[in-house]
Symmetry: none
Subunit: 207 residues, 4 copies
């Protein structure tokens, strides 16, 4: 966003270095183990087995590290979603259940990671997060559009946002011991019922 930031980040393309990966992983680890507040750049460097100087060779500032953590998680998540083979025989709720469950499978620590990342200073971060969620919304839209069921929504964009935010809230607050399957079922139900017209013509039961 600032001209100087771009300057600093010389090896933009070489982001795939082992060093970079080590740093991002270390940041995620520390976030999970402690707190945003306790996760200092020096500690990240230490856990990554890299000097603090090297961290600043690849990241303009601390926020960029968390950007990368978020990017990393959200791409894993989207990949997970895309990997779900959409069985046409399945009902909407079953499909959604499979999708939600895939998010857990992609990274069981995801919800906690997300909660911790939200502790970061709002300023530049909120936007980043919204982008990530927009991606997921797009994916979900694609899934829904391909479904035979007719949706009972007046504004799909609004509904998608509502749903994504709702799911995020539920994920973030899910108790650690919670059975992912139960959660996936409830979430799928929440989503399916919100989207489908209730009433006689229920798509699920043919008669």
């Amino acid at each position: 966003m600032d001209a100087r930031k771009k300057l600093k980040r010389k090896p933009k393309q070489s982001r795939s270095t082992a060093t970079v990966t080590a740093i991002v992983d270390a940041a995620a680890q520390l976030l999970l183990r402690t707190d945003y507040q306790s996760t200092s750049t020096n500690r990240i460097a230490e856990l990554a087995g890299v000097s603090i100087g090297s961290v600043y060779q690849y990241f303009a500032d601390k926020n960029e590290i968390y950007d990368a953590v978020l990017d990393s998680y959200s791409s894993r998540l989207v990949t997970g979603l895309r990997a779900v083979t959409p069985d046409p025989a399945m009902g909407l709720q079953e499909t959604l259940e499979a999708l939600v469950f895939s998010v857990y499978s992609a990274d069981p620590d995801g919800p906690l990671l997300l909660r911790r990342i939200r502790q970061a200073p709002d300023a530049h971060f909120q936007e980043k997060l919204q982008n990530a969620k927009a991606q997921i919304a797009e994916f979900l839209r694609g899934v829904l559009i391909r479904r035979p069921e007719s949706l009972d929504v007046s504004d799909l964009n609004l509904s998608l946002r509502i749903l994504i935010d709702a799911v995020e809230g539920i994920f973030i607050n899910a108790p650690v011991g919670q059975d992912p399957r139960v959660l996936a079922r409830e979430l799928a139900r929440l989503i399916a019922r919100y989207l489908l017209a209730p009433g006689p013509a229920r798509p699920r039961t043919a008669g």
Copy 2:
């Protein structure tokens, strides 16, 4: 429930009650204006027009200030909810809509405040937040139990938690300009559909 609950030194003169209020308000103000990270105790004192020493006369540490902010908000919120006169003629969705809308009315900044409070270090805070939500869950349970509609849920506790978390997620992420009425309608729909058995005998239209 009351902001004066767990104070280090209970204010015995009215002068000091004003001080406590000023501190809690200032903390909330700063949280809304900036960030958790930017909200230092010294800045809180400054905005409250009080010396930093006074802050620590009434609050054992920084966290306790935010506890009070949360307590203050959550009691305003619960009071708002309780003030909604439950018109028996209303359907469930309309009732829920009124309730959700009252939360906005209680404090339009509430959602943002909540988002910022969540930036606080997890350690002792997560529990506090869960308690506040448990209170709301109890209130909601009371409302539902009194309704004529039969609920289609296997585990009401689970459902309540799911719903509260969902609503929190939606609130926290609501864009600033968003029309509260639209939001309230969608939320009410989300909740009502999740809870009620979909099917021919829809409770809304007595057929």
Copy 3:
């Protein structure tokens, strides 16, 4: 020492108030229980069951409280010493043993109290302490002068100071569980041997 100090201390004579005693006792208590550093004027006031304002009604500043604590201890100590009836039949070592033991009896916590008082800022305090020790030195001189034994010292003042300092060092470092009687015996021996000419004409054994 400062003109303003004297001014502040209006009720110089009323130092015998119950309030004053309570404050001094509380200070000593806290010193024993914790540290000089942890013993704040506010905590003293609290333990004394008195308002902080009252503390400053009787004491110009924190140091004066400790002065009073030291005065109180040292007068108890000297009183204890004076109370020892000097049995003329006793040898020097036995007499010294009784004296040293009386110091313990006067206040078993004395040594610890002294160690803690020594943590106070040097500036104005060192002098106070030297005065207290000079008093004890004078007392000891009186005892020695009345003894039949001839002392083998070149400079009695120097020797007295050496001894008092030595005893202080031993007291201050005495482990908590230490048997006072053993300590008294060793100290008496240390003092007696230091003062008396060693050699054939030992006063203790007549033949």
Copy 4:
């Protein structure tokens, strides 16, 4: 024994060894010039010509700095003691005199330094000091065991402790102008007489 022992981050470049030394020296200087209470970490950093951040790179907290100061002094002191060539022709008192004097030579400010270090909070410090004294006790035991004179003590450990504490007390309270030679002589006499059997066969004059 070495000041670099328990450091937070071991200095790997010579630059940083200098930093550590500067910090420890500055701390000792300030302790001597003022007080424990006036010796803040920021002032130490300033006098050391180093940033406060650097102080905390090498020392986990304020206490560790004083640990290092004490270590540094006590190792200088023990080195000084060991350097005293034990002339077999000397009597016990002369030997002790030489030893005591060497302590002064090792660092004439030692006694004052010790007094100031004792102002530190008790908690973790008392132990440290006892360890240092135990070391000196061991050294003294070694010296005594090699002497021809037979000692008149029932419990050598107790006697050693008594003596070390006595000497500490005397050192700590020695007036600044005091002639070290006089002091050394008196101390040697105190120790020698306490340890040796008084009686006809005085070791000093062979007769």
